[in-house]
């Protein structure tokens, strides 16, 4: 089907403000009388708070309030599991936990006030390692976690937050069918999302008691519910104003400092702004869970997988509050099955409490960890079997009708085509261009995100259409995609469709941005609302009796009767479809034998996609995710020493720079079978997860060194090369 506007590589019409510095992010919001809040954090991983003396801080000129837990209601907050105090009450559980907050006329005075707060702690034994935390006799992070609201029932050890399982067939019987069994253990690092906008928020209480919120939060409607819970206010009293977000990548869905900003606003009678410093982001944001993953696979002599058992141990930190999934675990654990037909499968994912930074969701939560383990493991098995890694994969790829870990029988699966496309584009079968150069392949697949979204469209008197939407802009270009969809349906030009941002007063609910859902859920909501409006316009045109009357004429005719032509649609998709998107990637790397430095010489990424609504934005998602994957593979790591984050600046936590990006080939295999509008699929999380294993496999191919723990730094490769038998 040919489209007019859908499928065009249109630049960001909403971008003039962004390239001019005019966009107002949360940290840019200012209000008359605004004051600043700043947080004092714990320097100890586990301690009892004996005493907090705030007298000197309160006496500092310019300080309006200093609060501790005693000044706040005794409420625990969270997203699904409510286990985190707004300020530590009696006990701190990680270095960086909030113990007091000050409001002052400017941020510098607020910082000075914090330095004047005297806290007396009694050190308690801490456990910061996930494996140690679930041994008998380990210090308990929480006395009775099962009692928390939203706590999952299963808890094999008091330090376990949650257990998530995926199972197919009978795994023990499966292993009995195997000719050979392989087991390897992998580790991945603690990693921050790296968005360049630290969490920021402004809270103001109106004269009538309404709480106005501007926040870098991608789920404004859920935020309203969570704030109502945290502040013990009726939902209707809170209004979240949609604010542009300076990068999300899964990290901008939690409350962060907003309850504190509210309490400071309540006490001071002034609007309060709180902006985290980047050091605070790195010590107390909601980063990607580090993992220890053991994969055990049984294969037959001809290279068919018959059984797999995966055990993932995620160090979840001191609180579960940042995790949004009902399981309070990481759905990506299911990717332990990879892209393979595994008749007998058992995956167990444990999120474990430790006295360290609480982790949250990060772009494709759990998947980069699991795919690194699974796809490295595949190459290690292929080597033992004497098979080409691509050939070993070919023999086991999912095909239509095969069961995925989530129980679905795959439909429209294109694993094989995607793999072959990546191999071809990367010259896989050609001889490598020199010594110390290697190639590695890795694959993954991802479901199309689900959720629920409201859209409202209204015909304006000048014949244009306003699209009202409750999804904030996190940067993906979703608003442009939605405009394209409405313009396509109503046969308008893009300029004739304007996006109007809702507030949380406009609609009842919306699942917000995340999980690669927006093109699907927002797109379908906008599509169906536009279809309904189209029908109204057609009916009105008939009434007017002028076939081909302009939209302006029709709108004005309706207005004469006191009517506005408008339509709403609530799109609700809660269950994943049996359609998914496959990714195959090939890295070609060079290893410097003197230093161990890995250079990615070229990279190929192949994706099985649906209808592409905006090719420019689509490619931007692929490239951005891929370079995040590159950072995860090679450089990004929040270093820790006894629970203390040692990389507290972006100089130490190393995001890739423009100098680090490899020459890239992208292959897109369009197959118009997605559940999104015009049969679109999802792309936001398709390119990140297989990058690290593709590089690890390429490093092994280049120099015979297998790195089992991320990131693959020069020193790890250097020492592994030295230890390698000649």
């Amino acid at each position: 089907m040919a489209h007019r506007i859908v499928g065009q590589p249109i630049g960001r019409l909403d971008g003039i403000e962004k390239v001019s510095g005019a966009t107002r992010y949360s940290a840019d919001v200012t209000l008359p009388g605004l004051v600043w809040g700043k947080v004092l954090r714990s320097p100890l991983p586990h301690a009892r708070i004996i005493r907090i003396d705030t007298a000197m801080a309160r006496a500092l000129p310019g300080v309006l309030a200093v609060l501790t837990a005693r000044d706040l209601p005794d409420v625990l907050v969270g997203r699904r599991m409510f286990d985190m105090p707004v300020l530590a009450r009696d006990r701190v559980r990680f270095i960086g936990e909030k113990v007091a907050v000050a409001a002052a006329l400017d941020p510098d005075i607020a910082d000075e006030a914090l330095a004047l707060i005297d806290v007396e702690y009694e050190d308690l034994p801490a456990v910061v390692d996930a494996a140690a935390a679930i041994e008998d006799g380990a210090p308990l992070v929480h006395e009775n976690p099962g009692a928390y609201e939203g706590a999952p029932p299963e808890r094999p050890h008091p330090n376990v937050q949650s257990v998530l399982r995926f199972a197919l067939g009978d795994v023990e019987a499966g292993f009995r069918e195997a000719d050979r069994i392989f087991e390897h253990t992998f580790r991945t690092q603690l990693a921050h999302h790296g968005y360049l906008e630290p969490h920021a928020g402004v809270v103001a209480i109106d004269h009538d008691g309404r709480v106005q919120v501007w926040a870098s939060n991608k789920m404004p409607f859920r935020l309203k519910e969570l704030l109502a819970h945290a502040l013990q206010l009726p939902k209707g009293q809170i209004r979240v104003n949609l604010t542009p977000i300076g990068g999300d990548f899964g990290g901008k869905g939690s409350l962060m400092d907003l309850p504190l900003a509210y309490h400071l606003a309540r006490v001071t009678g002034r609007p309060v702004k709180m902006v985290m410093s980047y050091a605070e982001e790195l010590m107390a944001g909601n980063p990607r869970h580090p993992s220890i993953i053991t994969v055990r696979t049984g294969v037959t002599n001809d290279g068919r997988i018959v059984a797999r058992r995966v055990r993932a141990l995620f160090n979840a930190g001191a609180y579960a509050a940042f995790k949004p999934a009902p399981s309070v675990n990481l759905g990506g654990a299911g990717m332990g099955a990879g892209v393979y037909r595994i008749p007998h499968l058992a995956i167990e994912s444990l999120c474990v409490y430790t006295h360290s930074i609480p982790c949250g969701h990060a772009r494709s939560p759990g998947e980069p960890q699991m795919v690194f383990a699974g796809e490295s493991h595949m190459d290690m098995i292929a080597k033992e079997l004497g098979l080409d890694p691509a050939e070993f994969r070919r023999r086991n790829l999912l095909a239509d009708g095969d069961r995925l870990a989530n129980g679905h029988h795959l439909e429209h699966g294109r694993a094989k085509e995607t793999l072959e496309a990546a191999l071809k584009a990367s010259d896989w079968s050609r001889e490598k261009p020199g010594p110390w150069i290697g190639r590695g392949v890795a694959m993954t697949h991802r479901h199309i995100g689900v959720g629920f979204t409201n859209a409202h469209v209204r015909l304006e008197s000048k014949g244009t259409v306003a699209l009202v939407i409750g999804l904030p802009d996190t940067g993906t270009g979703a608003h442009l995609v939605l405009r394209q969809i409405v313009a396509e349906v109503l046969d308008l030009s893009l300029d004739e469709v304007q996006v109007e941002l809702a507030t949380t007063d406009t609609f009842e609910t919306d699942s917000g941005v995340g999980g690669s859902r927006v093109t699907h859920t927002g797109g379908r909501a906008a599509y169906h609302a536009a279809e309904k409006l189209k029908e109204q316009i057609r009916a009105e045109a008939e009434k007017v009796g002028t076939p081909g009357a302009s939209f302006a004429t029709i709108a004005q005719a309706a207005a004469r009767d006191g009517r506005t032509l408008e339509a709403s649609y609530f799109y609700d998709a809660r269950a994943h479809a049996a359609v998914t998107s496959f990714t195959a990637q090939v890295a070609e790397v060079a290893v410097d034998p003197q230093t161990g430095q890995v250079t990615v010489r070229r990279f190929t990424t192949a994706h099985d996609v649906g209808t592409i609504i905006n090719p420019l934005g689509h490619q931007g998602q692929i490239e951005g995710g891929l370079i995040q994957g590159l950072g995860f593979a090679l450089s990004e790591e929040l270093g820790t020493e006894d629970g203390r984050i040692s990389t507290l600046s972006l100089g130490d936590f190393k995001l890739p720079t423009v100098a680090d990006i490899p020459p890239l080939t992208t292959v897109l295999l369009e197959d118009l079978v997605g559940p999104g509008p015009f049969r679109a699929k999802a792309i936001g999380e398709g390119s990140i997860s297989a990058v690290a294993p593709a590089i690890a496999n390429a490093v092994a191919d280049a120099c015979g060194v297998r790195i089992l723990d991320l990131p693959i730094t020069a020193e790890k490769v250097y020492f592994a090369l030295r230890e390698k038998p000649a």
């Binding site: 630049g11 971008g15 360049l196 940067g475 931007g620 490239e623 951005g624 995040q628």
Partner: protein
């Protein structure tokens, strides 16, 4: 009291000695286009031009700009006409969330002022101090190349 010229307009501002140039621009002058990302001069989101030279305004004191000329993202467009770099960032997908974009655009303008026709290697070397987490940089490089070609 310091006097600085920002985007062609002279301002007299009373600031404490510890005030950074970034905070002075954002809070004393209300020019919130320049952003604070890392706060330690690494990410480039706060990039402005001081007498035409690129600096990280988050680690420069406001007093340092006394008597000098500052150009921020708000000063790039002329009579509502976007600078070619700004237009190219829109047309070629050079931004997503936009938080690093003011710094990227100011840095790219400084590059083209110095070197109107940079090679890809020169673009990469110059732009090294501007982090972006959304785009993976490919489209930023493309945007800057396009802007160089679009300039008269």
């Amino acid at each position: 009291m310091i006097r600085l010229t920002v985007n062609g307009t002279s301002h007299d501002v009373e600031v404490p000695s510890y005030r950074t140039l970034l905070d002075c621009l954002r809070y004393d002058l209300g020019l919130t286009g320049s952003k604070e990302g890392c706060g330690v001069g690494v990410c480039g989101a706060c990039t402005v031009l001081l007498d035409g030279k690129m600096i990280s305004s988050c680690i420069a004191l406001a007093a340092f700009a006394d008597g000098r000329e500052v150009t921020t993202i708000e000063g790039l467009a002329e009579d509502e006409r976007l600078h070619p770099v700004q237009q190219a960032f829109i047309d070629f997908g050079g931004f997503q969330c936009g938080i690093c974009t003011p710094g990227q655009v100011v840095a790219a303008k400084a590059l083209l002022d110095t070197n109107p026709n940079p090679s890809e290697a020169e673009i990469r070397e110059w732009m090294l101090g501007n982090l972006c987490r959304c785009t993976g940089y490919y489209k930023i490089v493309e945007s800057i190349r396009a802007a160089a070609q679009a300039r008269p």
